[in-house]
Every structure is written in C-alpha cells, then in structure tokens.
Symmetry: C2
Subunit: 202 residues, 2 copies
DNA sequence: AACGTTTTGACAGTAGCTGACACTGATGAC
DNA sequence: GTCATCAGTGTCAGCTACTGTCAAAACGTT
C-alpha cells in the first residue's frame, strides 16, 4: 500500500516536471500570454483537463521552480540558530539563490524565468502574490522563533524587516537577470543588504 | 472643441466613479470572486461591454482608489527637496495614507478595501503588481533626482530602499486594517520606519 | 434640422478554468 | 485466472473574464 502510494507520487512528480519543462520551452519561444494551455497540453500529449489536474493554473506551471524554492527558503530559515539576528538569517536563507546562481545551467534557467516574469503583467502579479505568501510563512517562523527565545516581537516591524530583505534580494537578482555576464551575486547581495540593513540590527 | 473634450472627460470620470462605487458595494456584500462583471454592469445599468470600456479588468474597478493614490505618491515625491534623504522623502510621501487615515469615513473605506484585497488571491496579486509598478515609477523619479544632484546612485540599492519603505508601509497599514480601533497611523509608521531605517541613512 | 463625433449595445468568439461522468489500466483479493 | 477497486485520463458541457466588430443611438456643432 505504502509502496503503491509512493510509486504514484513518483509518477506524479515526473509528469508534473515534464509538463513544467515543455511549458517553459513554449513560454520561452512564444511568450507567456501567447501560449495557450491547449498548446502546452498538446505538446505534452495530454488533454487540457489533465494539465489542470497537475497545475491549478497556467501561472503555476510557469512558477513551479519558485514554489520549490519557497519550501527551500523555509527549511533554511528554521535551520538557522535562534539567536542570530533575523537580518543575517535571511541573508543566509538567500544563499539558496546565490548557490543556484553559481551553476551555469541553473543560472541561465533562472535568468530566463525572471525575464519571462517581467514580460507578462499577469505572470508578474502571480509571482508577487506567491512571494507575499512566502513572506508570511517566514514571518510565522520568525515569530515562533522569537516566542521560543522568550522575546515579544513586534509583528509589524518583523514583517517590514522581511519585506526589506526581500526587496534587497529582488533588486539584486533583477539586476543580475538583466546583466549579460556572470556577476558575483553573493557579493552584490552582501553589499545591498549591508546598505539597507535596518537600524535595529546596527 | 476643447470644451467638448473637457465635458466628455468630466462625464467619463463621473461614470467611472459611479461604477467604482457600485462595484465596491457589491464586492463588500458578496466578495470579489463571487461578484461577476455582469452583475456589476446590471447594477449600474449598462452592458458588460461598456463596463470594460471604463475599466480594463474587474481588478481595476476594485483598485481604482489605489490607482489615484499612486499618482498622488508620485506628485508628493517630486515635491520634496532634492537633498532630503530618500528614506525621509518616502516617509513624507506616505503621509498621503496617514492623512486619509485621519478622516473617519475615508479610513473605513480604506480598511474595507484592504480586507477585500486580503480575501482574494487574484485581487491581492493584481494589487501587488500595481504596487510594484508604482515602486518602479518612484525609482525613476529618485534616479532622476540623484542625477540632478550630480550623484551616481546605485540603482539596486535604491530599488531595495524603496521596497523596504513600502514594506514598512504595508506592514503598518495591514495591522491598522485588522485593528478594530483607530490607531495613530503616523506614529506607528514613524516607529516602524525608524526601526527599519537602512544603515546608509543612519 | 443636418452633420460628424463619440458612446453604447448586441453579438460572436477566445481562453482559462471547473464539475460530472464514463472509460481504462493497474492492483490486490479470492 | 477472474473479479472488484481505484487512481488517472479524456470528453463534454458550462461559467466567466475579456475582446473585436458593427450598427444604432446620443450628443454637441453648425
């Protein structure tokens, strides 16, 4: 029984990944808005209905990588020491992006995704909404951590701090996505996050 | 000729405002997703097609207030002295929100809008996308200002600073929207923006 | 009253997305 | 080996947001 379920999960993930790849290729070729779900489904060899059994929306197919990255972020944050200043913890969380940027193939893929997102308002909107959700999850994690420490955290300030950190990440990655050549993303991020480091962590 | 055009503009704005009011009422009653454009058009007494001649999307009708606020933000920023630290200029720009919050009627309206936005993922996504656009416009203004001052601004850092300031605003307003009673939004915002104030302005 | 411009409604069509139902193919029980 | 089961899939029908087109209506100008 457990085996069967596991096999199904494996299969499901494989199909999902395949759809994601095909979709990414079509999006890159024709653009996000100009690609229909029917075309993706056809290219994969399935019905439109089945596509929607794997992805809740066309946007979800395009943002699948970011969904996985979100989970990674959360894991990395909870792995950080509880007494580390939140700002520095967040910087370490962002190493997920820096590390991915180090690999040539993954970097190209990430840059492509970022340019795609910037090219379509609806996709950008979906991306920002997911980023917002991620920030809320991180906020809960940091609130729980503060409670563990016996501190009384100001939720609004903490929310703003997370938002500020993400603004640093976005600004840095955005520039790296436009830049033709490989930049030292880690160093750039360090510089930006040092310049923006909130007074409360000074 | 000029008069006629002006009259048309007045009429157009009035109709647009009327649609916005009716839509806001329906959204408040039934929720954003549960309200169809047909229902709004019916309630106003026009065809669906005409609705879309005034608003490009259902989201736009719900976010009309924020569109006007965006223009206000930009005006206020350009009115600030060129040598003022960006962080402080942004705080003054946000006075637009603080002032609106001071008036009881406008505050209720703004709180309603915020709760509506949080209640619908699609509407939240549209809101965040518009906020992002606004930040880009403010970035351009601040870049132009820096150029005027003869400074060489780091675009990524400036982008991050604007994002950080908006994170403060959002966190503060979000809490105020949930809070039952009237809070001193200006004081709260001052506190959050002081705690998060970037190192470069220390 | 006649004219030209603008606005509007009606209609048809596309695309994203969902519910319902029937079919298929693999799995486990007997 | 047969049968019941059940997840995965395709088909179909339908809803809603949104767009192009075109003819009719509304409106200010002359």
């Amino acid at each position: 029984m457990a085996d069967a379920n596991e096999l199904r999960e494996v299969s499901r993930r494989a199909v999902r990944a395949r759809i994601g790849e095909v979709a990414a290729r079509l999006f890159a070729e024709r653009g996000f808005d100009a690609t229909t779900v029917d075309e993706i489904a056809d290219a994969v060899g399935m019905s439109q209905r089945t596509f929607f059994r794997y992805f809740a929306s066309k946007e979800d197919a395009a943002l699948d990588d970011f969904a996985r990255e979100s989970d990674d972020f959360l894991h990395r944050l909870t792995a950080r020491p509880a007494d580390e200043p939140e700002w520095d913890s967040l910087r370490r969380v962002f190493d997920a992006v820096v590390e991915r940027h180090a690999d040539g193939e993954l970097r190209r893929r990430s840059q492509l995704a970022h340019r795609l997102i910037k090219s379509s308002p609806t996709l950008l909107a979906a991306y920002l909404e997911r980023a917002d959700r991620l920030q809320q999850r991180l906020l809960e994690a940091l609130l729980a951590r503060a409670a563990e420490n016996g501190e009384e955290a100001d939720e609004a300030v903490l929310r703003a701090v997370i938002g500020a950190a993400f603004a640093c990440l976005q600004a840095t990655v955005s520039r790296a996505a436009s830049a033709p050549e490989a930049t030292d993303l880690g160093a750039r991020l360090d510089a930006v996050m040092a310049a923006v480091r909130p007074a409360r962590y000074a």
